[in-house]
């Protein structure tokens, strides 16, 4: 019964979304306040109905209701409760419901916290958001209904894919979807502004917090996925340039560009049309990502059950929204004149360079990801585009970006003075070069990766700290520290975000340049050396878990007085018929020791893999710090103070717009 109610709630949400897509739009066009205001209750109701529907599906998973097809396919009574709940979104139908839930949540939040928006803009934003919701609700109800019942319920379920039974991956999709779907808000704002025909500084200020929120969730989601791959896939890779990873990375890059260009709109009223275009493209890449993941046109390790019918539908959604928005853009973009004037050497120009690098790097990934398809359809060549291509074609953009970032961050708006504003940076520049040369001299190989990575990260981190410090003016240390604390949160967000970027570059380049690997057959009790570490395979045992069988090894790792016992496992999940590896990892600040147990060998002993992974954790630490920068910036006072209140006298009492 609860399940049927959940299904019914979803249909009601669709009906409301259709109303919300039409009525407020007409209201905004005709200037009818009551029609515009109708979007508020429908947005809230849509969210509560979808939330109820989602709760009903979760309930079915929790009580293992095997009359539901989806529960049978993705759950099992023996599965731990955590994974019964996360199993709700560990499949196509359930994850799509989560997608819609977040879509309606953002719509409702725009309604709750959008009190300071002009009523017509708010009505149009909510109408566009509702249009996106309508498309996805029809998609769910027609092609991917999670509430399909079975006539003859089986005795037990088929279990969730064991790779998904992991805390890192359990929370990877919700964060990713908060990011993907959060970009729908930027899209709605862009399309609403195009319909409205007006983009000004206030618009830049309204759209930024939503983009910032989407971007920081996307950062966390991508980092969680990468971290999971690192400890779960058995050899410590953290990024594979797989189509599905690229599908999440492209919107991230575009959203990062959008964040920066929206600042130019807000502060200087320039780059307006470009910012609108980025907002449209960012969500466009989210939709393309959904298409790539769910249609199976590109082979990927992540793909959900592939279904051409769904693919066609998603392609249609992408086509309609992108096509419609881009046509609207081409009609209206000309009207968006830039106002701000700036010279070649200025913060504005630096942000243009930032946008060029981020957007072109996203384009490179897009072409690389789609190329196998293009080559087969147009040139009749069956080929692959893999990590060697992406590393070569993408990395230069990040190197350039990191190289110009500190200079751009120091330049003043409008008219910068290069020689004067570069002066404090020369010391850091020299330091970075010296560190680069030093590392080059002491390393054994000739790879430039390590030295360049080190130089860039010092350059980024030190200059971000200097930027903060230079904002405290002159005077006594205690005064400057006081001023440091009182700096706007947005300034802190900028510095912290850039520091995070530097740390990630450091982690990636150190890990890729100086990883050490050892593969061998180890006898139990035998001791051997890997790098500076003494490794002993102490014991191997068979252990039974709640829904799996495991081979657990005990491996002692020692260096001087330091000693630790690691327990790598390999598991088999009999119901799903799938093996997984659980690496034994000793996490450290300067290195991870990463051990994996393999097969027993014919003539005794076990295959053991040992890796020394220098500074691996800095990759995700950097990502967390980047998103922390986003949170700091989001908490800035100016986002809470009604930005456009003066322009919209009819605005309701100020609810924080976060």
């Amino acid at each position: 019964m609860i399940v049927e109610l959940g299904h019914f709630a979803l249909i009601l949400a669709l009906a409301l979304a259709i109303v919300q897509m039409i009525i407020p739009l007409i209201g905004a066009h005709k200037g009818w306040a009551s029609w515009m205001a109708s979007a508020d209750p429908t947005a809230s109701a849509q969210f509560f109905l979808t939330a109820f529907s989602f709760a009903a599906l979760t309930y079915a998973f929790v009580v293992s209701d095997f009359s539901l097809q989806l529960v049978v396919q993705n759950s099992h009574t023996d599965k731990p409760m955590l994974y019964k709940v996360t199993g709700v979104w560990g499949n196509h139908e359930g994850s799509l419901l989560l997608w819609v839930l977040i879509l309606t949540l953002f719509g409702a939040m725009a309604s709750w916290f959008g009190g300071n928006l002009p009523p017509s803009l708010k009505a149009r934003v909510l109408a566009v958001q509702a249009a996106v919701t309508v498309a996805f609700l029809i998609f769910i109800l027609v092609t991917s209904n999670p509430f399909t019942r079975l006539a003859v319920p089986p005795f037990n379920g088929e279990d969730l894919n064991p790779l998904l039974q992991d805390p890192g991956l359990a929370f990877h999709p919700p964060f990713l979807y908060l990011g993907y779907v959060g970009l729908s808000m930027s899209f709605s704002f862009a399309v609403a502004a195009l319909i409205e025909g007006r983009v000004d500084a206030a618009w830049g200020r309204w759209v930024r917090p939503w983009t910032l929120a989407a971007w920081l969730f996307l950062t966390i989601g991508i980092a969680l996925g990468s971290w999971w791959a690192y400890y779960e896939l058995g050899w410590g890779g953290f990024w594979f340039w797989d189509p599905v990873e690229n599908a999440s990375f492209m919107p991230w890059l575009i959203a990062a560009a959008l964040l920066h260009s929206a600042i130019v709109v807000e502060k200087r009223e320039a780059l307006k049309a470009w910012t609108i275009l980025l907002a449209i493209l960012a969500f466009g890449f989210s939709l393309i990502g959904a298409f790539i993941v769910r249609s199976g046109v590109l082979t990927s390790v992540h793909a959900f059950a592939n279904d051409p019918e769904r693919g066609v539908y998603l392609l249609a959604i992408t086509g309609i929204f992108m096509g419609g928005a881009l046509v609207l853009f081409s009609l209206r973009a000309g009207a968006m004149e830039a106002k701000g004037v700036f010279s070649t050497i200025s913060r504005e120009s630096a942000l243009v360079a930032n946008n060029i690098l981020l957007a072109v790097s996203a384009f490179v990934i897009f072409v690389g990801t789609m190329w196998p398809l293009i080559a087969e359809l147009i040139f009749d060549r069956k080929l692959s585009v893999g990590p060697p291509f992406f590393n070569l074609a993408f990395s230069p953009f990040m190197v350039l970006l990191a190289a110009i970032l500190p200079i751009g961050a120091m330049l003043s708006w409008k008219r910068g003075r290069f020689t004067k504003q570069m002066k404090p940076l020369w010391g850091i520049f020299a330091l970075s070069l010296a560190a680069c040369a030093f590392l080059w001299a002491i390393q054994t190989g000739l790879s430039a990766l390590g030295p360049v990575g080190l130089a860039l990260s010092i350059w980024l981190v030190a200059s971000a700290l200097l930027d903060l410090w230079s904002r405290t003016g002159r005077g006594v240390l205690s005064h400057r520290l006081g001023r440091l604390r009182r700096l706007p949160r947005a300034d802190w967000g900028k510095a912290v975000g850039h520091i995070g970027f530097g740390l990630t570059i450091f982690g990636v380049s150190m890990l890729m340049a100086y990883e050490y690997e050892d593969i061998r057959v180890a006898q139990i009790g035998e001791s051997y050396t890997v790098g500076d570490y003494q490794i002993i395979l102490a014991d191997v045992q068979d252990v039974e878990g709640p829904n799996y069988l495991a081979t657990v090894a005990e491996i002692d790792v020692a260096q001087g007085n330091y000693q630790i016992r690691l327990r790598p496992e390999k598991r088999v999940y009999p119901v799903a018929g799938m093996p997984t590896t659980e690496a034994g990892i000793d996490n450290g600040i300067t290195r991870d020791v990463y051990v994996v147990i393999g097969d027993p060998q014919a003539n005794g002993g076990w295959a053991v893999r040992t890796y020394i992974k220098p500074y691996a954790n800095w990759i995700w630490l950097g990502a967390i710090i980047m998103s922390l920068g986003g949170v700091l910036s989001l908490s800035d006072r100016r986002f809470r103070v009604g930005a456009g209140a003066a322009r919209a006298p009819a605005a309701k009492s100020g609810v924080p717009a976060e």
Binding site: D242, V341, I356, R381, K382, I519, G577, T581, G598, D599
Partner: protein
Amino acid sequence: MIRVIALTLALLVAMPSFAVEPDEILDDPVLEERARDLSGELRCLVCRNESIDESNAELARDLRLLVRERLLAGDTDDEVIAFLVERYGEYVLLRPSTSGSSILLWLAGPLMLLIAVGVGIGYIRGRKLATDPVEALSAEDQARLKALLKDE
């Protein structure tokens, strides 16, 4: 009973194995290093999107052994790659060649960057030359200013 079934099932399912197995490793560390580098460039043909260096598949193992065999026979890296492409087609290459239409893939990024930089410079020059509406007063404002100054 369930336990017995589970154990039987577990035995039937292939246990996870490594990508590179200890018995595959060549004695010569220089050759082995070259083999590993080459493996990272070659696609496991039956896998979703993995190089033969990462993959656990049987075919990936065969290809790894084949690469090592060719290296031991004295092939250069390019010869090994050419040998594999001849056998399995260019699908095996994770780094696509620059021949024929594939040159478009390689040039897409640099060309787009050139275009973007061109447009960007054009835009910035436009902004530099534009008159600042905040600084320049409209004729109306000029008149008002004059009137105000007259009042003084």
